[in-house]
């Protein structure tokens, strides 16, 4: 009996230590950009649930002040009639067009030691789908998405004496499941956006990655490319890469300090959002 307890305890310890030593994979960064950029490991807790501050390099945020996370759903107008719905009608199966909407807003302050900026953010996702009622106590109702619109909007106000113009950040994605060729097709959700202030514009887009690197530097290839990182460009030049899986921000060294603060604010906002968070 004692031997059995010892074995069980030993097994638990091995499992726990294995779980604790899980490697956090990072994306492979091109050597040329790696030389010109600084690597900032990001300390962020949870995946959009907590209020704890985000820290990376010299940048620190205040506690995240989160608003209500609203999610509403109700029957709505059917804006797309799919072949599935035609088929269900032939089978006399009851269906309802549904729209669910989720909204979440939050705010925080970010500082780099000298500069401070106030960040206000709003996330909104609207999904349209069909609810299929099966009138059986053994089988639950099915809900199938038809299309989705997601937007993430943030407003970055630098707190300076010389009244700098605020930055406006918008990111969006949409997907129409009715356009999928088959059930096994990977949802190719295209996400893109921009960060603007007057004439300054930073374009942000999702990058598909098929190579990852372990902390020991060993490269791993994935069977297919996945949207795993964000790339920020100023006039066709990459100025930052956000790696949510590895929790790293690669920031171009020569970027001016105002822009660095804005990029840091966007990074913090992206990693603390709640509805669509890609943190690994």
């Amino acid at each position: 009996m004692i031997d059995c307890t010892k074995t069980l305890m030993l097994f638990t310890v091995i499992i726990c230590s294995a779980a604790c030593s899980t490697m956090r994979l990072q994306i492979a960064i091109p050597e040329k950009f790696r030389e010109q950029a600084q690597m900032l490991p990001i300390k962020v807790a949870g995946v959009g649930q907590t209020r704890k501050p985000v820290k990376f390099g010299k940048f620190t945020t205040s506690r995240i002040k989160r608003g209500w996370n609203f999610k509403t759903g109700s029957s709505d107008r059917n804006t797309t009639v799919t072949s599935e719905e035609r088929l269900l009608r032939a089978f006399n199966i009851q269906k309802t067009a549904m729209t669910t909407s989720q909204k979440h807003r939050f705010q925080f302050t970010i500082r780099d030691g000298n500069r401070i900026a106030q960040v206000y953010a709003l996330e909104r996702e609207v999904r349209e789908g069909t609810q299929i009622s099966r009138n059986s106590r053994w089988l639950s109702d099915i809900y199938q998405d038809k299309n989705m619109q997601y937007s993430f909007s943030a407003f970055i106000i630098p707190q300076a004496l010389n009244q700098q113009e605020p930055w406006n950040f918008v990111m969006y994605s949409s997907f129409d499941w009715t356009q999928r060729k088959n059930l096994f097709e990977v949802n190719d959700i295209k996400e893109g956006g921009m960060l603007t202030r007057g004439s300054d514009t930073v374009i942000i887009k999702t990058v598909k990655i098929n190579k990852t690197v372990s902390p020991k530097g060993i490269e791993h290839s994935l069977p297919f490319a996945l949207p795993m990182a964000y790339e920020m460009r100023v006039e066709n030049n990459v100025c930052a890469i956000i790696d949510p899986m590895g929790r790293i921000l690669w920031l171009y060294r020569e970027l001016d300090e105002d822009m660095k603060l804005a990029v840091a604010a966007v990074t913090s906002a992206l990693l603390t959002r709640r509805i669509q968070n890609k943190l690994g």
Binding site: T82, V126, S151, F155, S174, T178, L183
Partner: protein
């Protein structure tokens, strides 16, 4: 019973292989002013108020609530334990309504609208589905007229097709007068979320599924497609006549019923 359910799931999944539908992934950035659309969602009384406009005297014909169609006895005979071998649907549905849209200066426009949907669909279990299964034989259009109280000669006509999304074509239409033409089409747009002065909310932008109104190649207005959280966006410096015609069309698109059952 379980076998039937399994078969249903397989059929449902197989149908996804042929899944088709309209989509417009066009995402554009505009600077239109947002306005909430308030109003009751009762089918008999759906008067709305938005921006400087409000609708009144909404009337629907009794025929709008009737749905004549051919009863096909084969639909109930050709079934094995609820699974149809052949299912044919042939019906006609219409929505005829009129209303008055008033502005804050007590001027108004009279709107009359007629939407018609003819459904011709066939499902065959053991054979490849033909064009009718994908809605290609359906007829779906809407026509309307907008007449100003003061200037009866200045008449706008609205023509739209596929608003019930019964086939793969785009959901679009036109507002035409003697000299002007405004097009509208369903798409995803990035638009301002709210119009609250002195608050951060006015700076937020959200993605919305809307009917976008284009005039001279530029998006000048938009109205929500979904019934929940309805909004209307309009460019403030637009010609008043155009604003009125667009607002009346937005009201038509909001008030209209979905005719596909």
């Amino acid at each position: 019973m379980i076998k039937i359910n399994v078969l249903l799931i397989i059929l449902f999944q197989t149908a996804c292989l042929y899944s088709t539908g309209q989509m417009d992934s066009k995402v554009l950035n505009t600077d239109l002013e947002p306005n909430n659309i308030y109003g009751r969602r009762h089918p008999f009384k759906r008067n709305l108020s938005f921006a400087a406009y409000s609708t009144s005297k909404l009337k629907r014909t009794v025929g709008s609530f009737l749905m004549p169609g051919t009863i096909n006895p084969l639909n109930s005979i050709l079934r094995i334990e609820g699974i149809p071998l052949l299912h044919k649907e042939k019906y006609r549905n219409k929505d005829v309504f009129s209303f008055r849209i008033s502005k804050q200066d007590n001027t108004f426009l009279e709107v009359e609208c007629r939407a018609l949907l003819k459904v011709r669909e066939k499902f065959t279990l053991l054979r490849k589905q033909d064009a009718s299964f994908f809605g290609k034989k359906n007829t779906d259009f809407l026509i309307a007229s907008i007449v100003s109280q003061h200037d009866k000669a200045n008449k706008w006509s609205v023509i739209a097709s596929n608003l019930n999304a019964t086939n793969e074509e785009a959901q679009k239409g036109k507002i035409i007068s003697e000299n002007e033409e405004v097009c509208f089409e369903l798409c995803n747009l990035l638009l301002k979320d709210a119009n609250i002065p002195n608050q951060q909310e006015k700076n937020f932008t959200t993605a919305n599924r809307v009917y976008a109104f284009t005039y001279n190649g530029k998006i000048v207005a938009a109205v929500s497609v979904n019934v929940n959280n309805r909004k209307f966006w309009i460019q403030k410096d637009l010609n008043i006549n155009l604003q009125d015609a667009i607002a009346a069309t937005a009201a038509i698109l909001t008030i209209r019923r979905n005719l596909y059952r």
